[in-house]
Amino acid sequence: MKLSIDEKRCKGCNLCTMVCPYRIFRPGKTPNERGIVIPVLDRPERCPNARLQPLYGRTLCGMCQMICPDQAISWVEEKPGEKKKVAIEF
């Protein structure tokens, strides 16, 4: 599972970049075809909810989903064989 932003709903207010304790959401730079600068996701599978939601059977943090005024944030299953960005964290 990983976090994802619905590009049809997002209006680019960047509220999610403020609340995420893991800083998965970063302010975007390039506007999409509707002219909206959508936040960029930095390794969205890091979200602890993606791992622990099926285990606990409930949403644990979910701050980004709750604060998103446009109901654009959700967790989606990854496609098989999807490429992941890996970084070493200290």
Partner: protein, 262 residues
Amino acid sequence: MTFTDWLRADRLPHIYCAGCGNGTVINCTLNAVDQMGWKKEETVFVSGIGCSSRAPGYIVTDSLHTTHGRALAFATGIKMANPALNIVVFTGDGDLAAIGGNHFIHACRRNIDLTVVCMNNMIYGMTGGQGSPTTPPGALSTTTPYGSEEPAFDLCELAAAAGANYAARWTSYHVKELTHAVLAGLRTPGFSFIEALVQCPTNYGRRNKFRQPLDQVEYFKTHGMLVEKVRRLHEEGREIPPDTIVLGELARRNRPAMGVKR
């Protein structure tokens, strides 16, 4: 089942401006309603006129989009006609405090079994940024171009003084607390009033040095103070900053309520 099942996906994205806090309050309210385990057929959302009152249009349940300020009057009618229905009222500050002020205090006095979620953006957002009864002193709007000189209405204190069973204030930054407050309000028999301060970047923030939605949310984060701490500071005789937003549960009592299903 999550709160997203209560949204009308075919209607989204909604008409609110980018960064408007009303969508956040819809999320919190729907999350609380979802946790109550109510059926969609037995829940009614009522609203008046304004930005906030567009909210029931994005929810799958039955809803009433009523005349300006009269959301509580319509909700009283629904509750009296069928006390088995669960009713949640969405209003704004101009809707509830200005034109519907008398309906509000009399609904508190009668203590009808309603839950009222007031999205207080401190301005008339939809009509172009006129000053509302909750515009804080010194704030600029199109009708107060030199800064508002009037003291603002404290809606929670008004509800508590008029006799509501539950009154709480949170902001759109405090999503978890707001969800818990709405849940407590839904569980309370009698009139429960939840004031949610929301950011309005288009009409309030633009004129009051909150140009980005994040700026005003950051203001809510830094200037909010829990009511317990405010009372403690008051007892100790220490100074409370004048622009403090008092947050938390401001009233909870057990007056006899009207329209509670037996």
